[in-house]
Amino acid sequence: MSGKSNEKIITLGKYLLMVCYTIFILAPFIWILYSSLRWEPNLFAGEFLANPGGLTFNNYFRAIAGANFGEYFLNTLTISFITTAVVTLLALLGGYSLSRFNLRFKNQIIMAMLSSQMFPHVLLIIPFFAVMSGFKLLDSYTGIVLTHIVLGLPFGIWLIKGYFDGVSTSLDDAARIDGLGSVGILFRVVLPVAAPGVAVTAFYAFMVSWGDYLFVSIISQSSSTRTLTIGLDNFLGATQIQWGPINAATVLTVLPTIVLFAFLQKWIVKGLTSGATKG
C-alpha cells in the first residue's frame, strides 16, 4: 500500500519537474511574442494581463517602417540563402567523398574539420579582415557570404558525413553495377535516402549565417550590407530603448529560423544526435 503511494509521489514529482523544464524553455518565447503584441504603453504599466485597447500589430508596423528594418531583412535573407545553398552543395560532395572513398589523408582531413571548431572566431576575424580588405571585399555581400561559407562548411561536412556513414553501401554497389558513375550514384541513389542529413546540414548553414554577429560586424561597413543581428544590437544600444518595436523586430528575426525548424524538425533532431550516438 505504502509502496503504491510512494510511486504516485514519484510520478507526481516527475511531472512537476517536467513542467518546470517546459516553463524554463518556453516562457521566454511566449513572453516576447505576447509583449510584441501589446500596445507599447501597456508594457510599462506593471500589469501582466491588463491590455486596454486589446492586442495589436502596431509594434510590427512600427518596426517594419522604421530604422532600415526592411533593408536589413533583405540583406540577411540574401546572404543566408546563398550561404545555405553553397554550403549544402559543397558539404554534400565533400561528405560523400569522405564517407565512401578511402582517400589517403581522409583521417587527417576529418581531424582538421573537427579541429576547426577549436579556433576562437575572435582570432579568425583579424586575418579575415585583412584578406577581405586585400581583395576589396569589405562591405560586400560576397565578402560576408564567403566568410559564412568557410565558417559553416567544416561542421556541415562532418554532419553530412555522419549521415552518409549510416547509409548502407549496398545501394551504391547495386547502382554501380547498373552503370551509374559516382556523381550519379550520389544524386540519384544516395541523396534521396540521406535527405535528412542534407536537411540538417542546410539548416545548420542557415543558422550560422542568419545568426552571425561577429563577422558581419567587422566586414559590413554600411547599412547596405548590415544584417538583422546588427540591427537588433543597434536598437538595444539606443539611449531610449523602444521596447515595442524591438520586441516585434526580435520576433521577426526569430520567426524564419523557427518556421524552417518546424518543417525540418524531425530530421534535424535525428541528424544532430546521430553523430553523437553512433560511436
Binding site: 509583449s35 501582466f48 565533400g94 556523381v183 545568426g211 536598437f235 528575426t253 525548424f261
Partner: protein, 324 residues
C-alpha cells in the same frame, strides 16, 4: 596525306591514353572522383585553419594596428608593422586583467557545461520516461538553440529590464520587492544571468543527445539487472551511465569548445560589463582588436586561447584513444 597521318597519331595517342585509363583499377578512378568532390572544400580548410593560425601567430609578434590590416596580406603589411618579439605576450602577463579574464573564462566553461550536463541528463531521463501529455515537448525542445544569439539577448534583456521586466514584476507580485534589481547591470547578477542564458540555449542539445543515447541502450541489460535484484540507483550507475559515455563525451567536448570560444552571448548582452565583471577572453580579444586598436596584443591573446583549446583537445583525444 600528311594531315591524315597527323590525325592518326593524334587518335592513337588518345587511344593509348584511354587504354591507360582503362587499365587503372576501378578504385583508382573512384579515388580521383573522390578527390574532385573534395576539391572545393580544401581551400576552405586552408582559409579557416592554416592561414588564420599562421597569420594570428605572426600578428601576435608585431605591433600591428587596424591600418596595417587594411593593406591586406601582401608585402606592404611587413613594411608597415614592426616585429617586437614577445612584448605582446609580456604585456598580457603583466597586465592584471589577463589572469582575471582567463580565470573567468574557465569558470564560465566549467559552471555552464556542468549545469548543462546535469540538467540535460535529468531532462533526458524524464523524456525517456515517456510521461503522458509531454510527447510534444521533444519536438520543441531545440527552439532555444536555433534562435540567433542577438535575439536571445533582446529577449533576456526585456525579461530582466529594471522597472517593467517580467522577472521584477513577478518578484513584486510575490512580495519580494527588495530583490528587484537591474539584473544585467548588477555586479552580483550579471555573470549568473550569462550562465543562465548559456544553459537555456545549450541544455536542450545535451538532453536530446543523451536521450538518443538512452533509447539505444538494450532493454535486456535492465532486465538482467532486475533479475539480480538491482536497485534503481544501481541500474542507473552501472548500466545507464556507462552506456552514455560516448554521447556524453561528444556533447561535453563540443560545448567546452563552443562556450570557451563564444563571443556574442556576452558581448551583446553586457559587453563585458558592468565594470568588467563578465569580461572573458573572447570579448577581451575583440575589444583589444577593434576598440583599442591593439591588433598585435589581441592576436597574442587569441593565440593563447587557441593553445588552451589545443591542450584540451589533445587531452580529450588521449582519453578516448584517438577515435573520431
Amino acid at each position: 596525306m600528311s594531315g591524315n597521318k597527323k590525325k592518326d597519331s593524334f587518335f592513337s595517342r588518345i587511344n593509348i591514353f584511354s587504354s591507360f585509363l582503362q587499365k587503372r583499377t576501378l578504385t583508382e578512378k573512384k579515388k580521383i572522383t573522390g578527390w574532385l568532390m573534395l576539391l572545393p572544400v580544401i581551400p576552405a580548410f586552408l582559409i579557416v585553419i592554416i592561414f588564420p593560425a599562421l597569420m594570428g601567430i605572426i600578428n601576435s609578434f608585431t605591433d600591428a594596428d587596424i591600418v596595417a590590416m587594411t593593406v591586406g596580406i601582401g608585402a606592404e603589411f611587413f613594411d608597415i608593422v614592426d616585429f617586437i618579439g614577445f612584448s605582446n605576450y609580456m604585456d598580457l602577463f603583466t597586465d592584471g586583467d589577463f589572469w582575471e579574464v582567463t580565470l573567468r573564462s574557465f569558470a564560465l566553461v566549467g559552471i555552464a557545461v556542468m549545469l548543462q550536463y546535469v540538467l540535460g541528463l535529468i531532462l533526458a531521463l524524464l523524456l525517456d520516461e515517456g510521461l503522458k501529455g509531454f510527447g510534444w515537448f521533444k519536438n520543441v525542445i531545440m527552439l532555444p538553440w536555433v534562435v540567433p544569439v542577438a535575439s536571445m539577448v533582446v529577449i533576456f534583456n526585456w525579461m530582466t529590464a529594471p522597472n517593467y521586466g517580467v522577472v521584477n514584476m513577478l518578484l513584486e507580485t510575490i512580495g519580494l520587492e527588495h530583490l528587484t534589481t537591474n539584473w544585467f547591470g548588477s555586479l552580483a547578477f550579471a555573470f549568473p544571468i550569462i550562465i543562465i542564458m548559456h544553459v537555456w540555449r545549450n541544455m536542450p542539445f545535451y538532453a536530446l543527445t543523451l536521450y538518443a543515447g538512452l533509447s539505444s541502450i538494450p532493454q535486456n541489460q535492465y532486465e538482467a539487472a532486475e533479475v539480480d535484484g538491482a536497485t534503481a540507483w544501481q541500474k542507473f550507475r552501472h548500466i545507464t551511465l556507462p552506456n552514455l559515455k560516448y554521447p556524453s563525451m561528444v556533447v561535453i567536448v563540443l560545448h567546452v569548445l563552443w562556450t570557451f570560444n563564444n563571443f556574442d552571448i556576452i558581448y551583446l548582452s553586457t559587453g563585458g560589463g558592468p565594470v568588467g565583471t563578465t569580461e572573458v577572453m573572447a570579448t577581451e580579444v575583440y575589444d583589444m582588436a577593434w576598440n583599442l586598436n591593439l591588433m598585435g596584443r589581441a592576436a597574442a591573446l587569441g593565440v593563447i586561447m587557441m593553445l588552451i583549446m589545443m591542450i584540451f583537445s589533445g587531452m580529450y583525444l588521449k582519453l578516448v584513444g584517438g577515435d573520431v
